[in-house]
Subunit: 260 residues, 3 copies
Amino acid sequence: MDIIALTTDFGIDDPYVAAMKGVILSINPRVTIVDICHTIEPQNIAQAAFVLSTIYHYFPEGTIHIVVVDPGVGTERRAVLLITPLAFFLAPDNGVLSYVIEETPPEDLQAIALSNPHFWLFPVSATFHGRDIFAPVAAHLSLGTSPQDFGDQIDTLFTLPMPRPRIGEDGVLSGHILHIDRFGNLITDIRMEDLPKGNLFIDVGGHFIESLSPSYAEGEELLAIIGSSGRLEISLKNGNAAALLRAKVGSPVRISSLGK
Amino acid sequence: MDIIALTTDFGIDDPYVAAMKGVILSINPRVTIVDICHTIEPQNIAQAAFVLSTIYHYFPEGTIHIVVVDPGVGTERRAVLLITPLAFFLAPDNGVLSYVIEETPPEDLQAIALSNPHFWLFPVSATFHGRDIFAPVAAHLSLGTSPQDFGDQIDTLFTLPMPRPRIGEDGVLSGHILHIDRFGNLITDIRMEDLPKGNLFIDVGGHFIESLSPSYAEGEELLAIIGSSGRLEISLKNGNAAALLRAKVGSPVRISSLGK
Amino acid sequence: MDIIALTTDFGIDDPYVAAMKGVILSINPRVTIVDICHTIEPQNIAQAAFVLSTIYHYFPEGTIHIVVVDPGVGTERRAVLLITPLAFFLAPDNGVLSYVIEETPPEDLQAIALSNPHFWLFPVSATFHGRDIFAPVAAHLSLGTSPQDFGDQIDTLFTLPMPRPRIGEDGVLSGHILHIDRFGNLITDIRMEDLPKGNLFIDVGGHFIESLSPSYAEGEELLAIIGSSGRLEISLKNGNAAALLRAKVGSPVRISSLGK
């Protein structure tokens, strides 16, 4: 019943993900491997952190996540195992676990540096720790090896600054676009509970939206809606909002309220 | 031994498919999940219906298919469970099951509207019923929950008009391109049994083909062949017929017979 | 505990891979199916052979690989089962198994032509032996059918000429780019043991590199490193070497030694 879930920037054209699966299945042939996403932009740590944040709550307790977006592979950057009440996370210590860390009470976090080479695949390459360190450690973890056997406990992990909306002196809520999905929906860092009360007035790329829609199909051409991760999304009915607005990750979204 | 098969337009870059898998595995960790296709063009219901039609016959009896191409998500459009002697199909009632319905005797079809929120994931988002309704219902179905428990039986389902070739007054068979595959092969709606007898004369985009080839490699440059779904295909030897002919889904193919 | 691994040029947009999975699971619902790669360039046999070569060592003994890059499908080209001490390989006899054959002692190779239609799916299409021959044979093999039951033993298999570096009269080692990965890393056919002793002087597309780097991050802008398949790679720190150098598969890499 164990699950190992993979999030990487290895793409789908190269044999890197398959090599990891081969290593895992050679150690634990009964484990269930799930692909989360392999088309994270090369070396885009923030994107991997976001993608992971939207799915790990939905997996069974005890799922083992491997997250390999690892520009520092082969250097002294640490490889870590983070344990929360929900799941295990194996990743380079470079910020890919930032949302997980932010969303878990500190007393529920336990971290271990992967320093015990006993569980690694030799020779360890300088360029592919996904295959040589993370995959075999995950497989042994799924077989019941105690987390402490993989290395020493550590007290701090590297985290990225998390984008959060701010309310300015003029009372305007300023957020940013976190992610643009395949449909061109713009997912912002503004959560439902961040929204001001009263009639909303949303400014995105010079276009204005004056209310929340109950569904994509029931909105106006350009619409705002609370999306599936509880965040404000900007969407174009039967179209692609990102293309229309030439929006990018990081682009601002500003919301004012016309009052109660 | 249960299988849940997924066909969506969610793409491979976003975490939507993974969220569905997490929900399914949280309810039934032993089920086998199979990806059919996740790169259906955004909101292209006809394409999803075609793709599904070419594969469901090959899966074990009792396979549970989830098909989520769902521009009406969050509106009053129905979510349904269609039961045939071969398989279960969970989908929005928007035509994605048209081929399944057309290919099954009406007396062998049973349909249920998913109206019982007991099996849904709360809060149900307005934008992602794949995760919040279809995935948990599929997982419970795989565990043996009776179909009737998910909602009330219904008598009609929405279907798309199915493209079919026609014979004109001049005796010419007129069909259309249904699908263009990765190799540039043009798959038509003309089945082997639709073909006129005698010597064929095939007109596609102003190019002419005068016989069927026994294989891709044994044909002329531009060739016609009966493909793996039993339909007439137009193909370019060692090349891409779609690029050569600038063909699109819906483009006409005309066949006359010089014989008999 | 049996594994069937799939390498094809069928892409991810079409239902071909899913049809193969349906056929396999209909015969052996308990087998684990692993996707190696489905985005081999259409009909690029050499690329499939390379991709396979980088992963088959990492899978459990007895894994059944299906490799379908098959421009000759439907002709008299043979379909074969190759057995090595490590794995089973089902493929057209067109060179996709060249690296496997080269890397295995001849006395450890056993090959069978798939000539017994008893295990095929009927009607056998002219265009899709992946579904109609390779998939059902793999599934029956995973259930314990004896290899000899699938056809007659054969003595020779078709192999491609393997790219290998050469040392010219001027003492310069000339190799070629074998593969370009998603990150723009150029993987060459030069193995660590091929490298001359002394200080290296690497010429790739008119750019020069004078040493090996211990990691991607610790190198200069353009760097050379021993990659995860034991081969020399050219890489651009925080960038895409293939784009910078306008390199292609087959482009030359020349190495001279200034030392000793």
